[in-house]
């Protein structure tokens, strides 16, 4: 509601202000206009009245002139001049005149009296009218009016001029006194000589009452003497008690000056307006009548008031309508806000399912739809965040458990950025030999001695641990004893990426280190021993071989001397024997060297690809003499297309040795040695088969068992065939293969060896 209020109130206030001010000015203006209108009307009215009066004067003047033309009137005057010399019946004449005037008067009901006066002022005839009765007065009542002002004033006029008198009041009769006015004119005979005066006295009541009619205010009619001809308030005319006639000019002295200059005054004190107009006597400008209209302000406003009030009512209605419209509009505008606010409140409470209406103006619909979308999104987000909170809580719990587990199993230390200890767990206390309190007082560096040189990164102590670092540390216990730890330093950073503390896991590796040191020492000693052995062996072989070379060489020299016949048969045999034995010795040493190398896994095989069949053939050729001697057949059953990658020389040695063995045990005459090689399961299997005596089971086992006992320092003597088998096995195993014997006593033996097949 507040939004609509925020909209309504200013709107309303604004509209009230605007409309009120507009209304005020407008109505004011209107009022003025209306007032002016009224005043104009009054003035207009005055003008009309003025015109009426003027017409009255003018028409009566004309009529007066007209009446003088009656010949009877002239005749009468003549008569009166000459007296009664004629046979003129005055009464008759009077009767005729009376009849005449009787005819005139009904058409001029204002006429109150008509009298004709002769040149001396003597009334000749006087006829009175009260409107109904028209009566000539008797002769006796006739008077001389020569002292009357009107008689005098008329006399000085020229013929055809009509004298209009001041307005007089008939004070003889009842009040209000009738106002009378006399129109008089000279009567001339045909020759132009003035004979007398006719005076027509008019009552002004009628004209005055017609003038006095006014819609607004009251009229006061004043003549040039200040006499109030008419006033609504009779007292202003004549005070019957005091018998005084009210004089307007005396009572309103300023007014006299104003008559000609202005036509309206506004007496603010009395709240009166005065409008007037002067109607001059057309025959005598000194004589005039002023028509005065007095209007109170209220009287002027009264007709207006109604209109003005209507206008005010209208303004109020207008304001109310505006307010109503504003209220409606603003609620229309505010409605979506209200809906939105309501919706938001709901959402704040946690109800994301709340939806607001999407109806009304385009904007309202847009707001509604956006809000609804938003609340749906919020709902989803809330769900996601709930899930994440859950996950986080779970992870936190896991972490907690991990930390607890760590705490249980490892030595934990926490330090600040300067490595002052802030926390230690029980294990570390035990390990370091200090109490918790003692440790909390210490800096970690005070326990550490140095880093273990082996297996650690060389980190200078002055460098801060910016990332997780691993070090092997040598530490000192409280009692001075040494203990080793594998120290993992984990820096904990705050959100500004500043290190606030270190979490240090200390793993006790004291035993390992010591063991390491021992084993390092052992290793070192071993290495040394091996090195010495190697050197020794080299030396031995070298020192043995040189003499043998010399012996062989010299033998050859002996053999090669041109004077071979210088030697006796015995000498020749001796030389031959020397050569052969030297050779044998050399071969023996070669074998021993091989065994030594096999033992120390020092053979460097040179691999080449060769045709197996041809290899075997080469070896067989070496035995050709022996074969002949023993009448034994060596059969090469190998597929001539079979190619194999291996060390030719060492492989040849193996086969050579095995053949030698076979030859030893194969009998003469009918002995066959078969050599074969096949590929099975990515392996090449060689077999050397003889039909000799064979070995017993016991001997077989022994043969294959003893290999790792071969040592140059071994005291047990081996038979040559054993040595050969040992050498073969060693070479085969070095080549990554296996050796096998199948033998039955009396049925011959087959030696198998397999090697990984490569090309």
């Amino acid at each position: 509601m507040k939004t609509s209020q925020t909209i309504i109130i200013p709107f309303v206030i604004l509209s009230i202000i605007i409309i009120s001010s507009l209304s005020y000015f407008f109505i004011n203006d209107f009022q003025k206009t209306l007032t002016e209108q009224v005043m104009d009307e009054i003035e207009e009215d005055i003008k009309i009245k003025t015109q009426s009066l003027e017409n009255y004067f003018t028409s009566n003047t004309d009529k007066t002139k007209l009446y003088t033309i009656f010949p009877e009137i002239q005749g009468l005057l003549k008569f009166s001049e000459f007296g009664s010399s004629f046979n003129f019946d005055k009464n008759e004449w009077v009767g005729i005149m009376t009849m005449h005037f009787k005819e005139i008067i009904p058409t001029n009901p204002d006429i109150a009296q008509i009298s004709i006066l002769d040149i001396r002022g003597e009334e000749i005839v006087r006829i009175n009218s009260d409107g109904k009765n028209i009566q000539a007065v008797s002769e006796l009542e006739l008077q001389n009016k020569n002292d009357q002002y009107y008689f005098k004033d008329t006399l000085v006029l020229s013929q055809n001029q009509v004298y209009i008198s001041d307005i007089e009041f008939d004070e003889e009769n009842k009040t209000p006194h009738e106002s009378l006015i006399r129109f008089a004119t000279l009567i001339a005979d045909g020759s132009g000589e003035n004979m007398g005066i006719m005076v027509i006295t008019h009552s002004m009541d009628r004209i005055i009452s017609s003038i006095a009619q006014t819609n607004i205010g009251s009229i006061t009619i004043v003549d040039n003497n200040g006499q109030v001809i008419y006033d609504e308030n009779n007292l202003k005319q004549f005070d019957s008690q005091l018998q005084t006639r009210y004089n307007y000019f005396e009572e309103n002295p300023l007014f006299l000056d104003l008559i000609d200059t202005t036509f309206t005054i506004h007496d603010e004190e009395k709240q009166m307006y005065k409008f007037w107009n002067k109607v001059s006597n057309p025959n005598d400008p000194k004589k005039y009548v002023v028509i005065i209209v007095n209007v109170s302000q209220d009287a002027i406003f009264e007709p207006i008031q109604h209109t003005i009030n209507n206008l005010y009512y209208f303004a109020i209605v207008f304001i109310l309508v505006t307010v109503a419209i504003t209220v409606i509009l603003s609620s229309y505008i505010a409605k979506p806000f209200e809906g939105l606010i309501e919706g938001i409140k709901q959402v704040q409470k946690g109800d994301y399912d709340t939806k607001i209406k999407t109806s009304g103006s385009k904007e309202a619909i847009a707001i509604g739809e956006s809000f609804n979308e938003l609340s749906s999104t919020l709902k989803v987000l809330k769900q996601i965040s709930n899930k994440y909170t859950k996950d986080c809580n779970n992870q936190l719990n896991e972490i907690k458990l991990t930390v607890d587990a760590l705490d249980e199993s490892m030595c934990l230390v926490k330090t600040n950025g300067d490595q002052d200890i802030t926390y230690v767990n029980d294990r570390f206390c035990k390990l370091s030999g200090y109490t918790r309190d003692e440790l909390l007082d210490k800096n970690l560096k005070s326990i550490q001695l140095e880093q273990h040189q082996q297996g650690s990164k060389n980190i200078a102590e002055s460098i801060l641990y910016k990332e997780i670092q691993y070090e092997d540390m040598r530490n000192k216990r409280k009692d001075g004893s040494i203990f080793w730890t594998r120290k993992t330093t984990i820096p904990i950073k705050n959100h500004a990426n500043k290190i606030i503390e270190y979490l240090i896991i200390q793993e006790n590796i004291t035993q390992k280190v010591e063991h390491n040191e021992q084993s390092i020492e052992i290793e070192r000693k071993e290495q040394q021993k091996r090195h010495l052995e190697k050197e020794f062996t080299k030396m031995v072989f070298h020192d043995i071989r040189d003499p043998i070379s010399v012996i062989s060489g010299n033998c050859e020299i002996l053999k090669n001397t041109s004077n071979v016949n210088d030697f006796t048969e015995n000498q020749k045999n001796a030389i031959e024997s020397l050569c052969q034995n030297a050779r044998k010795l050399d071969l023996q040493i070669e074998e021993m060297l091989n065994i030594y190398h096999i033992n120390s896994h020092k053979i460097n095989f040179k691999k080449s690809t060769f045709t197996v069949y041809l290899l075997i053939e080469k070896i067989i050729i070496n035995f050709s003499s022996k074969i002949k001697e023993k009448q034994i057949k060596i059969v090469n059953d190998i597929d001539p297309l079979l190619r194999f990658s291996s060390d030719e020389s060492y492989l040849s040695q193996v086969i050579d040795n095995l053949i030698q063995n076979a030859l030893e045990f194969t009998p003469k005459d009918g002995g066959i040695i078969r050599i074969n090689a096949k590929i099975e399961d990515q392996k090449i299997v060689f077999q050397i088969q003889d039909n000799g005596a064979g070995f017993s089971f016991k001997v077989q086992n022994n043969l294959l068992k003893n290999f790792y006992e071969i040592d140059t320092s071994n005291k047990r003597e081996h038979k040559p065939y054993e040595i050969r088998i040992i050498i073969c096995k060693g070479i085969i195993e070095e080549l990554g293969g296996k050796m096998k014997i199948e033998s039955h006593q009396g049925f011959g033996s087959t030696f198998y060896f397999e090697l990984p097949f490569e090309i």
Partner: protein
């Protein structure tokens, strides 16, 4: 052809000397690496027979020094070894410009053959 034999074993040097002289070659011999080196530097030989396993100054050292002085390419070098050599050793020897590697004991006939091939070139 002039042949220089370098071997710490006097019997071997005597043997070679006798044998090769019989075959009509000019033979000089020394029993230590350093002397061998100085002889090589001062004189020109067609063939050098060099023993590897010598005390103090081995055949390898001789070869290294010879290579520094750029004398290896112009000579035919035969190397004698009592011990089997690794591939690395053989490669190194080849880099030094060794033409033949012979094992002890070698057949003297084989030696003669090799030398004869050099004399023909």
């Amino acid at each position: 052809m002039k042949i220089l034999i370098v071997d710490d074993n006097k019997d071997i040097t005597d043997l070679f000397h006798k044998f090769l002289t019989l075959k009509k070659y000019l033979v000089e011999y020394v029993n230590d690496g350093k002397n061998g080196l100085s002889l090589m530097q001062d004189n020109n030989y067609d063939v050098l027979i060099l023993d590897l396993a010598m005390p103090n100054f081995t055949g390898f050292d001789v070869l290294e020094e010879l290579q520094k002085k750029n004398k290896t390419k112009s000579n035919n070098i035969i190397v004698l070894s009592a011990v089997p050599l690794t591939d690395t050793d053989e490669e190194m020897l080849k880099k030094y410009g060794v033409k033949e590697i012979l094992r002890k004991p070698m057949e003297l006939d084989a030696l003669i053959e090799i030398i004869e091939t050099y004399s023909k070139k």
